[in-house]
Amino acid sequence: MITPAAIVAAASSAALVILGLALILTVWRVVAGPTLPDRILALDMLTGISIGLIAVIAVKTGFSLYIDIAISLGLVGFLATVAFARFVLSRGNFKSPAPPAKAGAKRRHAGGKK
């Protein structure tokens, strides 16, 4: 006979594995993201995934106090993203890659320069 606790334990273990995969993919975007806003967006997504991770750990351990930690992490993540957006706005853009098709055309034109 499968108990309800066993069902939830199995589901939360599976959710932990899936969230770990999502975390790895998002970290890849943080590392590889071509521009600064890409990295900021991936960091925002990272806090979202860790909120979910904390909720899964709250289910797994039975401590409902973890939900408060998740809420405060959401607040911190929101403020961090707003601050980063202001930073992007004030820093300006001095390394903007052109869209790939046009960049290829430009490179063909300026072939002698490089």
Partner: protein, 111 residues
């Protein structure tokens, strides 16, 4: 006795669904071509993913106070994710970060 199984099944479905939503948001973040389409994946799908997981944690505790806090956290996420995504997109567009090559029109471009 039966109600425990129903609750466990609901919590399990919410957990798996939330985790899958988060995974699809991460796949979108990796696969989509430029910042603005990635923002579409990360802000909407990622919010739903973490919100479903919070809801599962609130339901599993079987306490009204914890469930109310989880729902408050979900509502907070729903309120802040569009704001932060819009701020970031607006800042990036004002600073001239280019749209991907697959984009067909840009209504915010200065004429």
């Amino acid at each position: 006795m039966m109600i425990d199984y129903i609750l466990a099944a609901i919590v399990a479905v919410l957990l798996i669904a939330g985790a899958l939503f988060a995974l699809s948001a991460a796949i979108g973040l990796v696969r989509l071509p430029d910042l603005y389409t990635r923002m579409h994946a990360a802000s909407k799908v990622g919010t739903v993913g973490s919100g479903l997981l919070l809801l599962a944690a609130g339901l599993y505790s079987q306490e009204l106070a914890v469930l109310a806090r989880a729902i408050a956290g979900f509502v907070f996420l729903l309120l802040t994710a569009p704001v932060s995504a819009h701020l970031l997109a607006r800042a990036a567009h004002l600073c001239g970060y280019a749209l991907g090559a697959v984009s067909v029109r840009d209504d915010m471009r200065k004429r």
